[in-house]
Subunit: 375 residues, 2 copies
């Protein structure tokens, strides 16, 4: 089995590396004091340290379902299963659906593609552009697979967002064939303009909607969830329990306590939206100034700027860059079969302005040496 | 896929249920104040809330390897992979070995049997008695499977312990066929008389040794580990990362901080050994008094007393008991194919003396109604 390029990079970078690679939130923004207070409160109760039930802490499931209800998406705690990050949610669903075909976007989230491969799923890729996937291709593929994996909000890696029209089209196709959509939404709260309605809201009985606190609060806590109908959730419980018994109970207790004070979470989300939007503008500004030949679309949220050079092999470029202490992810990593070699994903949430400036200039110098061309 | 009887019970018991079912540690013994202090300390550093590397926190791996070195089992941090509880360790190893045959004890740990089934492993059961497995049967089975799963210390469910002689015999057989032993050791630190050398110590390159903080410190933290040669660990990393990226980083940081002060952990382990030994003696005393027809061997450590009635169907009995607010696990749950129906596993670490007395008397009354007989 192949390891993730990004996870390997994470293990091989030092404190000096300028990393545009991972989807790391800005650690300065973690609501550290609030989470610390919550930890102290919940650790007064020994129950926070004992075994938990497999589907997750009721109080936390209630708070998560409230977030959906506030968006007009009717949800109760029975519709929520807590998972060890959304990565595990993907694995649970894939294990249950192992050996099936699945329709995915090209490019798509590397960690999902690895999980689908691990579970012997045959992946059928359809073209993704700003505004959403090619729905003609989606229809053709989904008609056969009846199972799809999409990231409609500020996608990883592209940053692209499905328009409201595309969302409706996709929901209609899923309904038409009575199939299942896995809607991955780790970035949906990190919008720069407006929040989009999930596709799942239109097809509540034909979807798994995946959420996570990794991008909004803290990745270390490894708390994600699946929102689905009771019928779809029920058979997943035996998998979850065989895989790790239950999700870290201390983290669930801390989050449940933190979410009691709803204004905390709302103002924290407002803060990260503001900061990340600013970061995106800074990164885009430096790109335009330093690497004007890099073509990209400004994302409407999330953590990534994606684009391409005309005639640069980005996989070769990243190897040269690594030697000089700068990393990013070459687009080739996000495709299964296609021969894509000029694309790049830049993360803009993790580095300081100084490092962005410095890092992009190092890339510029390496490019101008002119020995990195696409094959 | 079948759910675990024990996990389902956990979800259906109330605060009033007298539960001899789960392997729940006594929550009163959690080193709550010390863990709380560690949490406060590590949460001062934003790094504790960020993404972690897939194989685990270096500092924690070092501390775990030190525990092995103190027992004369040479181990470095490169021999350790942190997992989301040992349950996940079992799943990672089984996924890597999927579709193979595996030699297991009868009876064995239910959660492992479920994971082996999930990974399409064909399980060959060999008889387990106090003192260890039948090594003639082990040899015959292992010769073919070249992969075994054993719990040599205070086994779950039986509480049986492998003698030093049996440990050597098993190690020799594993070496002879150059196979692999998965040695599960969640209870090894909870000894009432003495600590046994692991079997793995004799076959460091032919074993995965699984450890956990769930029984000694806190199950909610979901931190376990695999100790193996670098060669055996290396291919597991891609699985771990596809499954949940990494183990909860806050929990890893808390444990790493807690273990800095080694005398804390040593005196805590001494305390739980003393209390659990006393609990076992109390439970055994009440058993002898209230249910003298229940035949069992006193365990030398761990959390369970296992035995049987002469002519009682324990699966029927547990259903009657549940109605009266008492639960235990009938032996049938721990076997794959055999028709075992008179055996029972009692947990003795979770209930108060009062509840043990009350619970066993309820069982006695239900038995004396005399309508529960083995088929």
């Amino acid at each position: 089995m192949k390891r993730s390029f990004i996870r390997e990079i994470l293990e091989n970078t030092t404190n000096e590396t300028i990393s545009f690679a991972g989807g790391l939130p800005d650690a300065k923004l973690f609501p550290q004091e609030e989470l610390k207070k919550s930890a102290a409160r919940v650790m007064n109760d020994a129950v926070s340290l004992q075994y938990f039930t497999s589907t997750g802490l009721d109080k936390l499931k209630e708070k998560i379902s409230q977030i959906y209800n506030n968006d007009g998406f009717e949800t109760s705690k029975e519709n929520i299963m807590i998972t060890s990050g959304s990565q595990q949610a993907l694995d649970i669903i894939s294990r249950y659906n192992n050996n099936k075909s699945i329709t995915i976007e090209a490019p798509s989230y590397l960690g999902a593609m690895n999980v689908f491969a691990l579970n012997n799923m045959s992946q059928d890729s359809i073209t993704l552009k700003e505004g959403g996937c090619d729905t003609f291709m989606f229809n053709t593929s989904f008609k056969k697979s009846k199972l799809a994996y999409l990231i409609p909000d500020f996608q990883n890696p592209t940053g692209y967002t499905y328009s409201e029209e595309k969302r409706k089209e996709v929901a209609n196709i899923v309904k038409q064939y009575d199939g299942i959509l896995i809607e991955d939404a780790p970035y949906s709260e990190i919008y720069f303009e407006k929040k989009y309605d999930s596709i799942s809201k239109n097809i509540p009985n034909n979807s798994y909607h995946l959420g996570s606190f990794s991008k909004t609060l803290s990745p270390a806590l490894r708390v994600g969830w699946i929102r689905a109908s009771k019928e779809l959730l029920e058979p997943l419980v035996a998998y979850k329990e065989a895989m790790d018994l239950h999700t870290n109970g201390l983290a669930q207790s801390i989050l449940s306590d933190y979410l009691k004070n709803n204004t905390n979470f709302i103002s924290h989300k407002n803060l990260i939206r503001k900061v990340y939007k600013k970061n995106m503008q800074i990164f885009a500004g430096f790109l335009d100034e330093i690497l004007p030949e890099f073509k990209y679309t400004k994302p409407k949220g999330g953590m990534f700027i994606y684009g391409k050079f005309e005639d640069i092999n980005s996989s070769e470029l990243v190897n040269k860059c690594m030697e000089k202490g700068v990393v990013f992810v070459p687009g080739a990593e996000f495709y299964n079969n296609e021969n894509v070699n000029s694309e790049i994903r830049f993360n803009f949430t993790h580095c300081s302005s100084n490092d962005i400036y410095k890092g992009l200039n190092i890339i510029k110098q390496l490019i101008s040496k002119n020995d990195i061309k696409s094959a």
